[in-house]
């Protein structure tokens, strides 16, 4: 199959055989063409050349509805739920319009599935009240409810807890034993090797390699990972998740740069709020916040950045209270917040890359003078940032929404780290990024700490925290439940705190 878009050939003569009873892993960097391939399988897009055969018969998949009828269920990387409806209503969407939705039947079916998946889903909560992680669980559930023969999971594990991922792996195993086919897309090589029966590697729109089931068994996990990395990058590197936290840039005797005391936020319908959060970060130190998604991480970041009103407590930046400051003043004081929602609130997708660098500085000299835009200044500074942060964009005028996730993240990194940053809050900085961009982002964070900035790293990826942080605190239900130095044996300690078992 070949698929072309403006500017790129997304897929170039890709052959893929998906067999029932097999977990077929698709691996590739962002922009390797995985999403496009999935779009064609699920009926969202049509191939320009080539064809799709279902059960040996050439079958053009004309629409998502058609794909569903063929038994192809997809869980997309980006949420495809109606936020204003409840979970149950979302699951019932697409049923025959003349029938009354069968809530009772659905509840029984969902109970059965959730039991085997070991997740809890609040059927009558509105989707907008769920965290991104919970929404993704609902999407997996939706495909399961519809009796799909082929289940496509597009980066479905990125929001799940380590335990949840293990369980999903086990569940995929049970499903393929029943004769389903699964296409599993992930960035995480370990998952690929652990859960996959067959692994296909895409690179720049081409399939560069495939590991067949017998060969995968023969190789074993470690050897398979080495082989995949070689296919993806053409060079030998170790599994990046295995890299360890090495050097620290913090000096033990230094005064804390950021002090947070008893910070509290009132609970809301969709979040637990924050209760009495306190911590210090010294210059050069990386403090990790671990925890299962939706336990107050976003509220913590927004309360610190000034976006969310607090009900108590104080935030002290370099000895100076910043409680009375608004978002803009906190930014000027050196507090930066890199949001996890890159397109939803981090950028204006329709605006050019150049303007998005300065969204938080609109009206400031030298980019605006007496309120008037200085195009020359903006373009030249944006050009510098593009080079410095290696943003890959066709031009500065390209709408930022057209860039890949990794490149949007680079724009945000450039915006938050440039000019006078002192304390930086990173919220899930590598979520949804491919391997190369993940590594680049992590290196950028380390470099930032090395410059003597204080870093708060919020992440649901425990491996990431273990490889990056000096200390790790665990948040659960809006409360910090523990705080440990990142040493060799903290993994289980942190893991137990995350799921609510006392350390």
């Amino acid at each position: 199959m070949t698929k072309r878009f403006t500017g790129v050939v997304a897929n170039d003569s890709v052959d893929l055989k998906i067999r029932s009873g097999e977990v077929h892993v698709l691996l590739g960097e962002n922009g390797a063409g995985k999403s496009t391939l999935i779009g064609m399988l699920s009926g969202l897009q049509q191939p320009d050349e080539g064809r799709i055969l279902v059960d040996g018969k050439p079958t053009p998949i004309t629409s998502p509805r058609h794909a569903l009828a063929l038994g192809i269920g997809t869980v997309f990387q980006h949420m495809m739920l109606v936020p204003t409806l409840t979970v149950a209503e979302n699951l019932l969407l697409g049923g025959p319009w003349w029938q009354r939705p069968r809530i009772g039947q659905l509840e029984a079916r969902v109970a059965e599935i959730t039991k085997s998946l070991n997740i809890t889903v609040r059927l009558h909560a509105k989707v907008s009240e769920l965290s991104l992680g919970e929404q993704q669980q609902v999407e997996i559930l939706r495909a399961m409810v519809r009796n799909s023969r082929l289940l496509i999971l597009d980066e479905s594990t990125s929001m799940l807890t380590p335990q949840g991922i293990e369980e999903l792996g086990a569940l995929m195993r049970r499903l393929v034993e029943k004769g389903l086919a699964i296409v599993f897309i992930t960035h995480k090589l370990k998952e690929a090797a652990a859960f996959g029966d067959r692994i296909s590697v895409l690179k720049l729109g081409r399939k560069v390699g495939e590991i067949t089931p017998p060969r995968l068994k023969f190789l074993g996990e470690q050897a398979a990972i080495t082989e995949i990395v070689e296919m993806m990058f053409g060079k030998q590197t170790d599994d990046p998740d295995a890299e360890r936290h090495a050097d620290t840039f913090a000096k033990a005797e230094a005064e804390p740069l950021l002090q947070v005391r008893d910070l509290s936020v009132a609970p809301m319908a969709d979040s637990p709020g924050l209760s009495s959060i306190s911590f210090d970060i010294r210059p050069g130190e990386i403090l990790g916040i671990a925890g299962i998604d939706g336990n107050g991480q976003k509220q913590l970041a927004e309360a610190l950045s000034g976006q969310l009103a607090t009900t108590g407590g104080s935030v002290i930046l370099d000895g100076r209270s910043i409680d009375a400051m608004d978002v803009g003043q906190r930014r000027v004081a050196g507090l930066r917040y890199l949001t996890d929602d890159r397109l939803g609130e981090g950028t204006v997708g329709a605006f050019p890359v150049s303007i998005n660098f300065f969204l938080k500085q609109v009206g400031e000299e030298p980019f605006w003078r007496r309120g008037f835009e200085k195009r020359g200044e903006i373009e030249s500074r944006a050009g510098e940032l593009v080079r410095e942060y290696d943003v890959r964009t066709p031009s500065l005028k390209t709408p930022v929404g057209r860039l890949s996730g990794g490149n949007i993240q680079k724009v945000l990194l450039a915006r938050e780290l440039a000019d006078g940053a002192r304390v930086v809050i990173f919220n899930k900085p590598t979520y949804g990024l491919d391997l190369a961009n993940t590594l680049a982002s992590r290196q950028r964070i380390r470099d930032t700490a090395a410059r003597g900035l204080a870093i708060l790293l919020i992440s649901t990826d425990l491996e990431e925290l273990l490889s990056m942080c000096d200390r790790i605190a665990v948040i659960a239900n809006g409360r910090l439940v523990g705080d440990v130095q990142n040493e060799d044996d903290v993994r289980t300690t942190v893991g137990r705190m995350m799921v609510g078992v006392a350390a």
Binding site: G7, D341, G346, L359, G363, E373, P394
Partner: protein
């Protein structure tokens, strides 16, 4: 590597990007003329059905709206208030706020100008009186927009509903003011006092075109430049394009919201004042030209671009001036003008839609 060089991979896909200049112009011309032609055919069918020769009708529209000296002067004069209304709507729409209360704001501005100007010219020279009347009209229209503005800014109440409701109240209030408060005792017709022709806005050269046209052009171009070139305009566009990004970037969204409504309503109210002080001279009871509603689709078709809006406002003026005369001459109801304008707008919008879909399907 930074800005990507155009490699062979990109070159293969150039065909789906907009065609180079020559084809682009042709395409645009087709997109502008095609729908209008289709609308004329459709409206012509209606005319034939009611027994009127469409060619006579269109000939008259063209002659009285565009070709005859008097007609073109009337058309250009009609543009003055419409341009102000369009400028006001562009500010609001680009900031993502749907101010549909234009008619109420327009009429209140008109009534305040009609009430104050005749009194002011008696006590001070015209060059002083008219600006004060303009300011009064603007301020009153701004105040009228405060209720929906504050509700939207601080309570999140949908402004589409509130501005529409306020426009009903606004037109009624304007009417009440004309009939009860600012009634001219010298005439039996319920209307405000009439501003003498000599005291009105000067006409351009030796024509009947009001100088309000120039003010309108200045207003809409200034708004366009403000929205595209200034920090304030960019802030408004951020609020309009992604309100969550605006909060994340630390913009004072509530204050900007109130400012948008004030600017939008102020410009629309100014349009009302320009129509009175330049052309009408007074406000008659139950007068409501409904310019606010007429301009909304024109602004949308112009994609909220000020320069394109000038073109669409011109088209709207030609059709409404020409249509009014033609209706009288060939004996169809005056409201047929509205039918014609509506069909033209629907056809233009349909063409946009199909063009967009065509582009999408070529891309996808």
């Amino acid at each position: 590597m930074s800005v990507e060089a155009t490699g062979p991979a990109e070159a293969t896909a150039i065909d789906s990007t907009p065609a180079p200049a020559g084809g682009g112009v042709l395409h645009r011309l087709l997109m502008a003329i095609g729908p209008i032609f289709a609308a004329l055919v459709l409206a012509g069918a209606i005319l034939i059905a009611v027994g009127v020769d469409p060619l006579t009708y269109y000939g008259t529209v063209l002659e009285r709206g565009l070709l005859s000296p008097l007609g073109i002067q009337q058309t250009l004069t009609r543009m003055a208030p419409l341009l102000f209304v369009a400028a006001g709507l562009i500010v609001a729409f680009r900031a993502g706020m749907w101010n549909l209360g234009g008619d109420g704001q327009f009429l209140l501005g008109a009534v305040i100008a009609a009430a104050s100007a005749p009194l002011l010219v008696e006590v001070m020279p015209g060059w002083m009186a008219l600006p004060i009347a303009f300011v009064l009209a603007t301020v009153v229209a701004m105040i009228w927009s405060l209720v929906p503005a504050l509700l939207r800014a601080y309570q999140g109440v949908n402004e589409i509903i509130t501005t529409l409701m306020m426009t009903f109240l606004g037109t009624s209030l304007a009417n009440v003011l004309v009939k009860l408060v600012f009634l001219d005792p010298a005439t039996t017709v319920p209307q405000t006092r009439t501003l003498p022709v000599d005291d009105r806005l000067p006409r351009l050269f030796d024509t009947t075109i009001t100088s309000g046209l120039l003010f309108g052009l200045v207003a809409i171009i200034a708004v366009h430049l403000m929205m595209t070139r200034t920090a304030f305009g960019l802030k408004l566009r951020i609020v309009g394009a992604n309100p969550r990004a605006a909060i994340h970037a630390g913009l004072g969204v509530p204050k900007l919201t109130v400012a948008v409504f004030a600017l939008s309503a102020g410009l629309v109210g100014l349009g009302g004042a320009v129509d009175i002080l330049g052309v009408q001279g007074n406000v008659r009871a139950d007068w409501n030209p409904a310019y606010g509603m007429a301009v909304i689709p024109a602004v949308f078709l112009a994609r909220m671009n000020g320069f394109a809006a000038i073109g669409f406002v011109f088209l709207l003026s030609v059709l409404s001036i020409g249509g009014e005369s033609a209706a009288r001459r060939v004996g169809v109801p005056n409201t047929f003008t509205l039918v014609l304008v509506a069909i033209v707008l629907i056809m233009l919008a349909l063409a946009e839609y199909f063009d967009h879909r065509h582009n999408q399907s070529r891309k996808a």
